[in-house]
């Protein structure tokens, strides 16, 4: 008989502290600096391939700004109302009207000293957006978010398992990285499923056979 699970798994929230920095040290530092003062750069555009950590960074920045007592809002594929810190994820998903709204928001925030963080999958020059918006995104600080290498991914997986309170043997991460897709959202998703699977079977530690079962059931 399998154990039924209560939905009380610890909620994992993206923060600047649990972001595995990898080769993004400069971006991480610049973002922390900008969020802790009003004098730093007010416009950030981050770009990188899917699964490189853009959404994590934007959500973490909003969470940090709220912690600092600022009004902050995160939106994905839409343009929210103005706040002191606004993060707009996936800028390429914006339609024509939303692009104009973001353009107006950009101008308002620039005037009021607010902070705008935007993410996309390409460098500003290569974005298929309105020219006036595209060039404004390239005006502030632009960083590519570099995806983690396998060592850094291993570190991120262990960190994630630790946050959920389960043990993750090295051979499990090794197997996962050798046999599964290697983008972080997928890997973390498998870990969550593995954790739930272990609990259902009342097993204490994750193991390669259990991981295989999880990966087979996908």
């Amino acid at each position: 008989m399998t154990q039924l699970l209560l939905g009380i798994a610890p909620q994992w929230l993206p923060t600047l502290d649990n972001f595995v920095v990898g080769r993004n040290q400069e971006l991480h530092t610049a973002l922390r600096h900008a969020l802790s003062s009003t004098g730093g750069e007010r416009g950030f555009y981050v770009w990188g391939e899917a699964g490189s950590g853009k959404s994590h960074l934007l959500q973490a920045a909003v969470e940090r700004a709220r912690g600092n007592g600022q009004s902050a809002v995160y939106a994905c594929g839409t343009v929210p109302d103005a706040a002191q810190v606004v993060a707009v994820d996936d800028v390429e998903a914006l339609d024509d009207a939303a692009q104009i709204a973001l353009f107006a928001l950009y101008n308002r925030l620039r005037e009021s000293g607010g902070m705008l963080l935007v993410s996309g999958t390409a460098a500003p020059t290569h974005l298929h957006l309105r020219d006036d918006l595209r060039t404004r995104l390239g005006w502030g600080l632009v960083y590519q978010v570099h995806a983690l290498n396998d060592e850094e991914k291993t570190q991120a997986l262990h960190q994630h398992a630790q946050a959920r309170g389960f043990e993750l043997p090295n051979e499990v991460t090794h197997y996962l990285l050798c046999h599964g897709r290697r983008d972080l959202p997928y890997l973390l998703g498998v870990l969550d499923e593995l954790d739930a699977h272990c609990l259902r079977l009342k097993k204490r530690a994750a193991s390669v056979p259990l991981l295989k079962e999880v990966m087979r059931s996908e």
Binding site: A30, A123, T125, R136, W139, Q144, C178, H179
Partner: protein
């Protein structure tokens, strides 16, 4: 038959012949008076009068001749109210309804005191626009009204228009100046409509001494806003108050804007701002770095200017990135540092590299057949490029190792792992292989 019948027949004719918007703009506001064979038509402003004279007077004259059976004397006048309300260059009195001013000002961006003529870098690309802007700031409402500045994005239109405002403000401390982005002007119109405060709205905009409106192309396909702006424009120009407009294109090429408005845009002076040349881009970078108190050398400025050609915003963005990079690494700004800092930015589109593309590129590079690369052959001349391709696939794609192995003729994931380890080791000992790897990596990324 009374004289009014003549005018009614004219109205009827124009109503049938003209689109309603043109009829409402030009014909309807006219005040008709007649005395014997003399007709007096009073227009609300000078611009309307000019249009009547050029476009509609012959028709009115011919109808009057038919009516009187003799040539009629037609006199065109501008309404006295309009003339009296706007003595030339007189600074407008304080506005009566402060609530609307507050609302409008909330939406009208204040002038940015940092955008001055002094820090506007001039060159071939913008010298005409710069000269016109100075002329307008020094003697507003006289020569070039409206001044219409157009050009691509990020070339300095906003800087120039704000510099006009700042200069004018310096010389006329109590002048009423409004810098408004077209999107905010649209919001003002909508708000005035919703709160039924059109009179206050008109009063506010008509009382300005200088109206600077940025990115007018945004009012395209917004007929209500266009109508209001048309009235505002006419009113200010008739009162010899300066209007400066910026746009991303030449007036005639703006789509979605009524012809009467675009023709009005061209009435004053239309000047273009072109993309800056290399020398100008260098000058901009040098000046910008001086302002940020982090001066860069000419060699660095040339490096950036050579690689970032599109517009000034991206040029400044590149400089921001270099300054941030230098601060983070606590290193002086050199060409080497600039190269490092802009590595990501300068890389071409971050396209997802396909495994097929990697295989083809590697096979071409080593001049071997693609079929051999995917075959079971284990000779060094085939195996090494295959290992290289596997390693690149691991680095440049998100495919799993079994998927990579499968794409190379159904190999195991451990073969891929071995290939990657071999190449990583060889990169440390074999400089030529390392160079090949970097070259292939760069080629595929770009």
């Amino acid at each position: 038959m009374s004289h009014q019948n003549l005018w009614d027949s004219c109205l009827q004719h124009f109503k049938e012949q003209l689109p309603s918007q043109q009829f409402n703009s030009w014909i309807k506001p006219l005040i008709f008076e007649a005395n014997g064979h003399q007709i007096i038509l009073t227009a609300p402003n000078g611009f309307t009068l000019k249009v009547i004279q050029e476009r509609f007077l012959p028709e009115i004259a011919s109808r009057a001749q038919a009516f009187f059976s003799a040539p009629a004397q037609i006199e065109l006048r501008v309404e006295k109210k309009a003339l009296q309300a706007s003595p030339k260059n007189q600074i407008a009195p304080a506005i009566e309804n402060p609530s609307l001013i507050k609302k409008s000002q909330k939406n009208s961006v204040r002038l940015n005191p940092a955008l001055l003529f002094d820090n506007f870098v001039t060159g071939k690309a913008n010298q005409l626009a710069h000269a016109a802007a100075i002329q307008v700031a020094e003697s507003p409402g006289t020569t070039y009204n409206p001044l219409f500045i157009y050009g691509g994005v990020g070339l300095g239109k906003t800087h120039l228009i704000q510099a006009i405002g700042n200069q004018f403000k310096q010389e006329n401390k109590h002048a009423k100046i409004c810098y408004v982005h077209a999107t905010n002007y649209i919001s003002d119109v909508v708000r005035a409509f919703q709160t039924k405060q059109f009179d206050e709205f008109k009063q506010y905009y008509n009382s300005l001494d200088l109206l600077l409106i940025d990115d007018i192309q945004f009012i395209a396909d917004k007929p209500g806003t266009q109508q209001e702006f048309f009235y505002t424009l006419n009113s200010l120009i008739d009162a010899n108050k300066q209007v400066v407009i910026t746009c991303d294109t030449f007036p005639k090429e703006i789509s979605g804007i009524e012809p009467r408005l675009t023709s009005r845009f061209s009435c004053g002076l239309t000047v273009a701002i072109e993309p800056p040349g290399l020398e100008m881009r260098v000058a901009i970078l040098l000046q910008k770095s001086n302002i940020s108190k982090n001066p860069i050398g000419e060699d660095v400025a040339f490096f950036i200017a050579k690689h970032v050609r599109s517009n000034i915003r991206e040029l400044e963005g590149a400089l921001n990135r270099i300054e941030a990079f230098a601060r983070f690494h606590k290193r002086p700004i050199t060409v080497e540092l600039a190269k490092e800092a802009l590595k990501d930015l300068l890389a071409a589109q971050n396209k997802q590299v396909s495994i097929e593309n990697i295989q083809k590129t590697v096979a071409d590079f080593y001049r071997i057949k693609l079929l051999d690369l995917l075959s079971k052959k284990r000779t060094r001349i085939i195996a090494r490029p295959r290992q290289m391709a596997m390693c690149l696939a691991r680095e440049l794609t998100q495919l799993s190792l079994p998927e990579i192995g499968n794409a190379f003729g159904g190999r195991d994931h451990s073969t891929v792992l071995h290939a990657c380890k071999t190449i990583e080791n060889l990169k440390n000992t074999d400089a030529s292989l390392n160079a090949d790897f970097n070259l292939l990596n760069q080629t595929l990324r770009n």
